[in-house]
Symmetry: C2
Subunit: 145 residues, 2 copies
């Protein structure tokens, strides 16, 4: 039923809650667990980077990839410590929601589990969060934890 | 883990897909299945009813309650035909998302399963759908199918 579960992670408490839910479901369904961290490529941040020195963007890209890799490794470790044998980590750059949905389609994921920003985050609510975009665009069920 | 699953239904294909997912999960987790149909009370529709004759609103309210009741009965029947023993139906009036979330809190639901409007429904995407509101407001995991 849920052979292949995807958990996008970003180091937030919400993502950690999603990971814990995924670990419980993985156990029940003997699923493969896919962990994905998406970082935005420099070009996507350009508009807000005008104050930064010219040499910064390359370093920034490296730093973001490094951070995303660390987040994935930490999540994999948590899953392994909880007894999940079949867990794989991935790092991608791109717009978060579309990159998550594209990954899910390519890997034939049948459940995406996401953290929510929680109640009361009005800006997030009005502007449309990553979780909202993913639930709108995904071809498979999406659980928001 | 998911002792008490709630499926809000409105007669749409999306709600039917959510119901089918709930039936499968119910089987796996031996859950109680709660089916809820929410209709908007007359006062919530007032603004758009100015063309209707004065006596219409009361009938409208009755019609909407009747429709919602029919939708719940049909969903219960589908669940029972699929072998779900413990299924209960409810009809409430109010703003859909808040009424669903309030019901979920009162009944200590631990998973809400909702249909989505699907890809490409841009108006729904921009304005914020019921599923978006529910995922934002609910205290428990929400699965959008």
């Amino acid at each position: 039923m849920f052979d292949r579960i995807l958990v996008p992670v970003d180091g937030s408490d919400g993502a950690l809650a999603a990971l814990r839910q995924a670990i419980l479901l993985q156990e029940k369904f003997a699923s493969q667990l896919f962990i994905l961290s998406v970082y935005r490529h420099y070009s996507l941040l350009e508009a807000s980077m005008s104050m930064v020195r010219p040499e910064a963007p390359e370093n920034l890209d490296d730093s973001m990839r490094e951070y995303a890799t660390g987040v994935v490794e930490q999540a994999k470790q948590i899953a392994r410590n909880s007894g999940v044998a079949d867990v794989r980590g991935f790092v991608k750059s791109g717009p978060p929601a579309r990159t998550i949905v594209q990954f899910a389609t390519e890997r034939e994921i049948n459940l995406i589990i996401l953290g929510s920003r929680g109640v009361g985050d009005i800006e997030n609510y009005l502007l449309g969060s990553v979780s909202h975009k993913v639930t709108s665009l995904a071809q498979c069920p999406v659980m928001v934890v």
